[in-house]
């Protein structure tokens, strides 16, 4: 199982929305060996996820932890799909 962790400042609202969008995309791609979760930045540092996802304003804090997908917009599904697919291919998950 691979793990994607979406982060935002408090790990409550916006990371949760992005998580739901990622799950939707993974379903479309028929990817089943990836679990998606959301958290705040404090919890992220001990989580050992394969890919971290966050909006561009906190991406800098995530890059120290591992492979990061930085989003310019929280609501742009196309951007999310494009960047996520590229990252999954790069990590040979798909």
């Amino acid at each position: 199982m691979y793990k994607i962790l979406v982060c935002c400042g408090s790990g409550l609202g916006s990371s949760f929305m992005i998580e739901m969008n990622i799950k939707k995309i993974l379903k479309e791609l028929n990817v089943e060996n990836v679990e998606v979760d959301h958290a705040d930045l404090s919890s992220a540092s001990g989580s050992n996820a394969d890919i971290y996802v966050g909006t561009r304003d906190i991406a800098a804090n995530l890059e120290a932890l591992g492979d990061t997908v930085s989003l310019n917009s929280m609501i742009d599904m196309n951007e999310l799909k494009e960047k996520l697919t590229a990252k999954l291919k790069e990590k040979e998950i798909i």
Binding site: G13, M17, D40, L41, I58, L71
Partner: protein, 419 residues
């Protein structure tokens, strides 16, 4: 038998578990997912209660030291802490108001022009808790409590995104997404101030601004740091002798720092609980609303606007915090209850106020709009405390603007009927 069912339903943890169970069944999830999700939700509620214990013990030390030092009540507004306190006594009503409030939100979106689905689940929970407290303090109970409470909750879930939408269109450049965070009155105020002061002011994003405040994004660290500053100041003002009485002889500065970080730890645990509670409920709410009101706009949490104006986020935080300090000084002069500027509300709400102010009035709008917001969230809690009953005497209270506005209006309406 009937009594057993009632007993089970009056345990709030079980009740939220059942709400989550219904949500999972409606989504036709597999048996194992239903089981897992329901247990996680119940676990979340119990974890939240544990976090409340940690945060409240640390906070009561703060309250005692503050009282000793300045001879008045010092309050650090913090949604998580006050909600965790409220849920100990008002958990059942909160859970019911939250569940039916979400349904009422869907009805408003379906049958009125306010086509917004409020997806910031933790704020739905917090608002439900506040409404439950105010109505019960006002003397409502049983069916009428849940009916009135869920109507009010469902209404504000559609109404606040509606008043934020004109500025949201300016910020995002689309009409596809709405804004859901119960600080909206403060953001609308900031946008209005921005319009007044910001004629021809350049956007914040044309400035070069240092990015070194990034560590404040990590809210546990930010809470621990600012609380440590407050605790140490108050411990020094209360004097080592008094504090040693609380700490059992431990050095007073060390005690202050440990208690501050303990408070942050309590909040961390509360948030973990909130996350578990919402994990199944929000997706169910979203799924059901998409089926019933396909043309409604999803309304999302604050950070949805942050990427549009990263500089405004920082200016907004700093300026709102400054407003909070000025507001605190005014309260000291008035000899009223002291509201200390909490880092979390000023960071999240202040940052958002900055983005809204920038959208209507550039740099000037971001600065003065957030400053006005900082004053607002300092004075509102003072007016809110009297309608919260015993909860009004806690050392923490609701922090964001809409809680104050809704609470004060609702509390005073309930008072009229209670006579």
């Amino acid at each position: 038998m009937f009594k057993v069912i009632l007993d089970i339903l009056s345990v709030p943890a079980i009740l939220v578990g059942i709400i989550s169970l219904i949500g999972l069944l409606l989504q036709k999830k597999s048996i194992s997912d239903v089981f897992k999700g329901t247990i996680k939700t119940i676990l979340g509620f119990l974890v939240l209660g544990g976090g409340a214990g940690i945060a409240v013990s640390a906070l009561s030390h703060f309250g005692n030291m503050f009282q000793e030092a300045f001879n008045m009540q010092g309050v650090v507004p913090h949604n998580e802490a006050v909600v965790a306190l409220a849920l100990e006594e008002y958990g059942t009503s909160t859970a019911l108001i939250m569940a039916f409030g979400m349904l009422v939100n869907i009805l408003f979106a379906r049958f009125t022009k306010m086509k917004y689905i409020f997806l910031t689940g933790h704020h739905t929970l917090y608002m439900a808790a506040m409404i439950a407290v105010i109505l019960m303090v006002g003397g409502l109970s049983g069916f009428s409590l849940v009916l009135v409470g869920s109507l009010v909750l469902g209404f504000v879930m559609a109404f606040f995104p509606a008043i934020a939408q004109p500025t949201m269109r300016k910020i995002t450049g689309t009409d596809d997404v709405a804004f859901a965070h119960f600080g909206t009155v403060g953001y609308v105020l900031s946008a209005w101030v921005g319009k007044l002061v910001g004629k021809n002011s350049k956007s914040t994003e044309e400035m070069n601004f240092p990015k070194s405040l990034g560590f404040l994004r990590d809210s546990s660290v930010a809470v621990a740091l600012t609380m440590a500053i407050f605790y140490v100041i108050v411990a020094i003002a209360a004097g080592p002798e008094y504090v040693h009485g609380l700490s059992g002889g431990q050095n007073f500065i060390l005690f202050a720092i440990i208690q501050a970080i303990t408070f942050a730890g309590g909040v961390y645990v509360i948030l973990a609980g909130v996350r578990l509670i919402l994990a199944e409920i929000v997706p169910a709410f979203k799924g059901i609303s998409e089926k019933l009101v396909p043309d409604a706009k999803p309304a999302l949490d604050c950070p949805v606007v942050f990427p549009y104006a990263p500089n405004a986020v920082l200016i907004g935080f700093l300026s709102s915090f400054l407003g909070g300090i000025v507001g605190m000084l005014i309260l000291i002069a008035l000899k009223s209850t002291i509201i200390l500027p909490g880092v979390v509300p000023h960071f999240f709400c202040g940052a958002t106020a900055g983005v809204f102010g920038n959208a209507t009035g550039g740099k000037k709008g971001a600065f003065f709009g957030s400053f006005a917001h900082g004053l607002l969230i300092t004075f509102l809690p003072v007016l809110l405390m009297p309608v919260l009953g015993d909860l009004g005497f806690a050392n923490t209270t609701f922090s964001d603007a809409d809680f104050g506005v809704v609470g004060i209006i609702l509390g005073n309406i309930v008072k009229l009927f209670a006579q």
